[in-house]
Symmetry: C2
């Protein structure tokens, strides 16, 4: 951030009075511009003993598989956002959403909030951000072609929980970029 979004004057990074973190503050109108983490939400759609994955048609991770998910928008609820993303990316309708994984990614200031959900019917198709949408039996999940660590973790929990058919909430953190940890 270089300029105030309210008045167009350059901003400075300073700690406001009574605060303890530097914020971008306008040198002219003194507006404090807070920046906060974003929520990414989506679904793990289930159909009988299979789950729905999407092959990404956009960067990053073009051509790799993911669960339908994306940034929550202003003025919607979490479940509305998860259902909308599932519709946009997989043209799929889901219901019975159950909160399943909550994963903080502090290195990119995102929190993933993923729901298990029931796929309502087999009328799914690639949305504009997907190359392909397919049902996978858990044994056939393309582990070497998954787009993001947070998707890998959610699917790993799911496959483990299938043994007992209990799907408790899993809350955890991914603290580093994959390349940083893979390099060590």
């Amino acid at each position: 951030m270089k300029y105030c979004s309210q008045c167009g004057t350059p901003v400075s990074s300073k700690i406001p009075e009574g605060d303890n973190l530097p914020r971008f503050i306008c040198d002219n109108c003194h507006t404090i511009h807070y920046q906060n983490p974003k929520i990414v939400t989506g679904c793990l759609p289930e159909w009988e003993n299979k789950i729905l994955l999407c092959k990404r048609a956009i960067e990053p991770r073009y051509g790799l598989w993911t669960l339908p998910a994306g940034f929550m928008e202003n003025h919607e609820t979490l479940t509305q956002a998860a259902e909308r993303e599932t519709w946009e990316e997989a043209c799929a309708k889901v219901d019975n959403l159950q909160l399943y994984t909550v994963i903080s990614l502090p290195y990119i200031s995102q929190v993933y909030i993923m729901f298990r959900a029931r796929l309502i019917d087999l009328n799914f198709a690639p949305g504009s951000e997907s190359l392909d949408v397919k049902l996978f039996h858990p044994e056939n999940i393309p582990w070497d072609e998954l787009a993001f660590p947070v998707i890998r973790r959610t699917l790993t929990h799911y496959c483990e929980d299938l043994a007992t058919r209990q799907f408790p909430l899993h809350i955890s953190d991914i603290l580093h970029r994959p390349s940083e940890t893979q390099g060590k």
Copy 2:
């Protein structure tokens, strides 16, 4: 938003290509400025059969009681944020955080994520944003002096769940400002 935070030029509200919502887009450098919901997180600290509440020293809702909670910051995890807010508002240390309520407030584009937590000791005190910090037996919760509907809902769940000592996750929405619904 009136000006681009990257180059200081006025922005226009337009739907970007491939998108379906209007965004603020810079007329000069074409940066798209997305705006997304914020996460408010905090704790319901438990000590034996009591819980810790804070009396607000700031607006809005000066002088009313709340649970320690506030905006999650960039580069922290959810539990770090909830522990930090508990420390800042109540000078209280907690552990054993258990996700308890997830409440979407679309009318102000916030998601509250509240944890039950164990108060580690009785060394608590008002932080700079609190007038007072006190332990309350559930029977003595000041229901007529609570700061926010989301706090009332979290405490209501808690009091109901005390009957069975089971504290499942509660996920829900508050769709309107309290004044809008009270007026009806």
